[in-house]
């Protein structure tokens, strides 16, 4: 169990457990304790199994830490190093505090996932009941295959969990509180910090540049909230402000966005006007202020706010769609422009055409294009379900044909002369009639279609469950071949015994039940056949193995 590659995060010596001295190890995935003088862990808990940790109150003589597991068991460690017991305990506690949530989340997620799968898929749920609850196979075995299967079939779903967007108001959620002595307190959560980083990559860059070499995390955020960057309506920037560069970068980004222009020609205000008046003509009701100096500070701070809101919204929007868009972006990149206006000219029409077409569309004036469908209106749905047997590929006879043939038969019948020398004997005739009546030998084909009527529904349901369960087990069984690892070997043996157990506990009672109800026994024939095939495969494999061994 104790693989050497495991990363040891913390080692605490002189930790007693059950009155025994030893060493406590905190590793990447588990916490373990080994008694002094031995090289084996006697206690080992995966973090995922731990529900919570408890510590002894500060004033107590014994400094202890208790781990409570999901199963309800608990383990208590006593920190016995006189000089540093408290420190040791606190270090352990801190580390555990960081580690446990991660695993808890994972464990919960898995549980949730399992729960969800069972809820969404009744067949699976039934299978779970059949196999796990009745203890044919263990839950772990059941899920090992299931979850893995899902992971394998479409990894995209699992890896690409849905990206959560950013709330537009995340900055508003940081409510400053006065702390009573001329100061402000900002409460930051990990979510908010992530939102800030995702929306303003420049801040993230600053963060990684400065923290922790130059500033502590706390200092960094203090500066952030003090900076004009956060209070964008302040115009004057201090030069020592580390965020002034961010502002400049933002400005640049905004500018480049503006220069890039818009893709949709219908919202491009620049090319909206066809012919602007020449300079000097026209009535200017709002005089364009030629001198910027005349603008008061208040005005420019107002326009700074407006700019800020536009930028903020654009960034939030971009952060939300950044991940998903990258592939498409690249695709469009190649097709669209590299800033060259002439290039874009060639590629513009398609977008423009589509937009124009959309704009002149009157959907309600057009007759709907798709062919009119008539809603299916069934009076007796079962008649629809097992309706008349479909006609095989035979010629359809027109009514004329039918009339002709009727006439022909009538004509034949009129001229019919019994050839009495070649008639059947009466016994042969009666047996033929018996064979041709319902239930007779020749009418067997017709009986097949009636199986769902012959067998009561609950039996059918049971049979279906059996099939599903057997299929599942067999799938496990067959997936072991070719058996090339000891693990698989072990598994195949287990699966074989599982199959046998299934046959004994599930299949046989069912067969007996059918027999009691006098139903035709070949209902389970196919199931048995499948099991037999598996057994024979197993035997072949086993004999071969024996031969190889000897």
């Amino acid at each position: 169990m104790a693989s050497l590659s495991e990363e040891v995060l913390l080692v605490v010596k002189k930790v007693r457990q059950r009155k025994q001295d030893g060493t406590l190890y905190l590793m990447a995935e588990r916490v373990a304790w080994c008694p002094e003088g031995k090289d084996r862990f006697t206690v080992s808990h995966l973090y995922a199994d731990i529900r919570c940790q408890k510590i002894s109150p500060d004033g107590k003589a014994k400094i202890q830490l208790q781990l409570v597991l999901h199963t309800g068991e608990s383990t208590t460690f006593h920190f016995a190093n006189e000089s540093s017991a408290l420190k040791d305990r606190d270090a352990t506690k801190e580390l555990l505090q960081q580690l446990l949530p991660k695993f808890k989340k994972k464990a919960n997620k898995e549980l949730e996932e399992k729960n969800r799968m069972l809820q969404e898929d009744p067949v699976l749920f039934q299978l779970y009941k059949d196999l796990v609850v009745s203890q044919v196979i263990s839950a772990e075995e059941f899920w090992a295959n299931r979850l893995g299967g899902i992971n394998n079939t479409d990894p995209a779903v699992v890896n690409n969990k849905q990206e959560v967007g950013i709330s537009g108001a995340f900055l508003a959620d940081i409510r400053p509180q006065t702390d009573g002595c001329n100061g402000l307190r900002y409460n930051l959560t990990a979510d908010i910090i992530e939102s800030i980083f995702r929306t303003y990559p420049a801040v993230k860059q600053k963060y990684s540049e400065n923290v922790p070499h130059n500033l502590t995390e706390k200092e960094f955020w203090t500066r952030f909230f003090q900076s004009h960057y956060f209070h964008r309506d302040r115009i004057n920037t201090g030069t020592q402000d580390i965020f002034s560069e961010c502002a400049k970068q933002d400005e640049k980004g905004l500018k480049s966005l503006v220069i890039q222009g818009v893709k949709n020609p219908l919202v491009d205000l620049l090319s909206l006007e066809d012919k602007t008046l020449d300079e000097g003509y026209g009535i200017c009701t709002t005089l364009p202020s030629t001198s910027n100096a005349s603008k008061s500070v208040k005005d420019s701070s107002n326009s700074a706010i407006i700019k800020r809101f536009n930028h903020h919204s654009a960034m939030v929007l971009a952060a939300g769609s950044r991940k998903g868009e990258t592939p498409t972006d690249q695709a469009s990149e190649t097709s669209s422009t590299d800033g060259n206006s002439r290039d874009s000219d060639f590629f513009q029409p398609p977008v423009k055409k589509v937009k124009l077409q959309e704009a002149i569309e009157y959907e309600d004036l057009q007759r709907e294009n798709r062919p009119k469908t008539v809603a299916l209106n069934l009076k007796k749905s079962d008649r629809y379900a097992h309706g008349p047997v479909p006609l095989q590929s035979q010629h359809y006879t027109t009514s004329q044909d039918i009339i002709n043939s009727v006439n022909y038969i009538r004509h034949e019948m009129m001229n019919y002369k019994p050839n009495l020398t070649e008639v059947l004997s009466s016994t042969a005739a009666s047996s033929a009639i018996a064979a041709l009546s319902p239930g007779g030998v020749l009418m067997q084909a017709g009986a097949q279609q009636a199986i769902n009527q012959m067998v009561p529904t609950e039996v059918q349901g049971e049979l279906r469950h059996l099939y599903v369960a057997a299929g599942e087990l067999l799938r496990h069984f067959w997936s072991c071949f070719p058996v090339n690892t000891p693990f698989l070997e072990e598994k195949v043996m287990k699966m074989k015994s599982n199959l046998e157990r299934f046959q004994v506990t599930k299949l046989c009672p069912f067969q007996e039940k059918i027999q009691r109800q006098y139903l035709s026994t070949n209902l389970t024939g196919h199931l048995e056949e499948m099991l037999q095939t598996a057994y024979s495969k197993f035997h072949i494999w086993q004999t071969r193995r024996m031969m190889r061994k000897t």
Partner: protein, 760 residues
Amino acid sequence: MKLNIEGLLVYFPYDYIYPEQYSYMLELKRTLDAKGHGVLEMPSGTGKTISLLSLIVAYQRVFPLDVTKLIYCSRTVPEIEKVVEELRKLMEFYAKETGERNNFLALALSSRKNLCIHPEVSSLRFGKEVDGKCHSLTASYIRAQRHINPNQPVCRFYEEFDAVGRQVPLPAGIYNLDDLKDFGRRKGWCPYYLARYAILHANIVVYSYHYLLDPKIADLVSKELAKKSVVVFDEAHNIDNVCIDSMSVNITRRTLDRCQNNVDTLQNTIQKIKETDAAKLREEYRRLVEGLKEANVARETDVYLSNPVLPDEILKEAVPGTIRTAEHFVGFLRRFLEYLKSRLRVHHVVQESAPQFLKDIFDKVCIDRKPLRFCAERLHSLLRTLEIADIADFSAVTLISNFATLVSTYSQGFTIIIEPFEDRTPTIANPVLHFSCMDPSIAIKPVFQRFQSVIITSGTLSPLDIYPRILDFRPVTMASFTMTLARTCLCPLIVGRGNDQVALSSKFETREDFAVIRNYGNLLLEMSAVVPDGIVAFFTSYVYMENIVASWYEQGILENIQRNKLIFIETQDAAETSMALEKYQEACENGRGAILLSVARGKVSEGIDFVHHFGRAVIMFGVPYVYTQSRILKARLEYLRDQFQIRENDFLTFDAMRHAAQCVGRAIRGKTDYGLMIFADKRYARADKRGKLPRWIQEHINDGSLNLTVDETVQLSKHFLRQMAQPFRQEDQLGLSLLTLEQLESEEMLQKITQIAHQT
């Protein structure tokens, strides 16, 4: 479907039709029959354009001699392109139904910036640069120089077009701007000049207002368009301002300085030419003696659209002797310039009429009225003679000479205001001479006179009767159509009070009131929680918006709004606003929802549609009155009162309400669309304001929703939105607001349709 509009077979490229479209076509047909002008109001989103096109194209086919051309004027480039696309759809339908390709030629015309395919020139960003550069490659004298000096760069596309393009007419078809460029690229011809040439024989021309209304451009482009044309001004609710703008001139000190430079350049050039090529100047002199006969003959024989800058009288005369030689003219310009400079040195505001100005100029520098009138024409001739390539450089002197001609031609309809400083900054000297046109009818008069039918149409033209008055024409039909609706998909609400009963208003006295600002903020906040996807809010002016945004920011209202939706704000920079708009649409598209804060009369309110989820609610904060303290506006109001008997208040309210209607109308672009229209000002409840809203909005304001509080508004909105979110299918509309051909032809429906048109 094929319709019978009073005996005219109209192909309509859809399977269904709105009743109001039918009604609209009826009115339009009557207007064309009477060969008169018409004013038609129909809500946006009811297929105005396609109705217009279907009927006029049908008319052109049946009566090819009565209506030879359709000139369709729209306001923005996307609008122009949309019209052409609709036309394409119609023509495809014709081809499908009749089985033959008709030989219609229809094309869009736009400025060089949108049509140029010259690799260097088209890469320039601004329209003016493109024009200037194009001119420097294609001017006649540059091309003449090339014969001597083959290294002189010219535009190969223009050369090719000039050599071949004029002989071969543009093949029939529908040409949008991009199609023209494609065609140009294939043939190697300049699409711009090709289009300008082709509009003369095209059946349908789609271009911007300015090509007809701005005398400087109309003279170049539209002069020779056939008299038997039908002119349509779409989105014409602002047409009077376009007219006025095109005739008004502002002169600053900078203009005069540049003009001074221009005059110096002219002087030098004349000196040079005199030494090398005196014959050229003599030739010009001779031509001027002959007079402007040529133009006069053309106009009398009805070939030309008259130019309001070039009034009829002066065409009959020759250029007066005092400015006939080039040196004399330059001297004359100098004197005029000095005079203007002296006028700009005033220290108080001066307002005077054109005759007063003329008298003053005669007294001070002895410049007569007559030479002034010929100033523009004389300069034009001189620039031609001197072979000046880059006209753009001479814009200042052209401006001054245009001003001279205008001020001496029109004794009425214009006013001169000289302001030594801006009102807000009385300490900084920045003198401006405003020569402002107050009478929009001057610019549009030639259009009404020349073309047999002029249709003025828009979604918001109420009250209808004011347009004929201020544009001074006599329409044969005036009608306002409502929108027939199977469900009331618009919900106009007037919010008069905050939850604390404070009256909401943007009027001057309460504009700075914190209670009002806070309540406006609350309204937006509450709506942002209720309305899905996009909300557009309009403020009365940019300054007002800035102030409100700032105080919302201080009060933390914006932060709370951000919890619900992202916020985007229009800025004064068009490129920035475009980006904000695109992001806004993106946010609506991906489900996050957004709010756009914008300004009435701004570019967004005039040119951008907010269809479906891009605008589920429009909030109009305040009544968008124009800035009333401006002297130009005051002069115009006075003029309107004296000349047209329109009271100041009536006009101001009319102007405010048409802009408000434009803003709120942005959200409804069709019958399947739906949206809230929230008027957040108690003044909207008054009859004089409400009565000036378009009928299709007015109808849906009920007495219960005249003075709501914010809470009540939220309740009503919730209810409305919940109803509207139900699925809405074609069958729900059929027979009510959407008709098949059979339904349309039923007696009962025809009866109903006659009521849709609201005659005034």
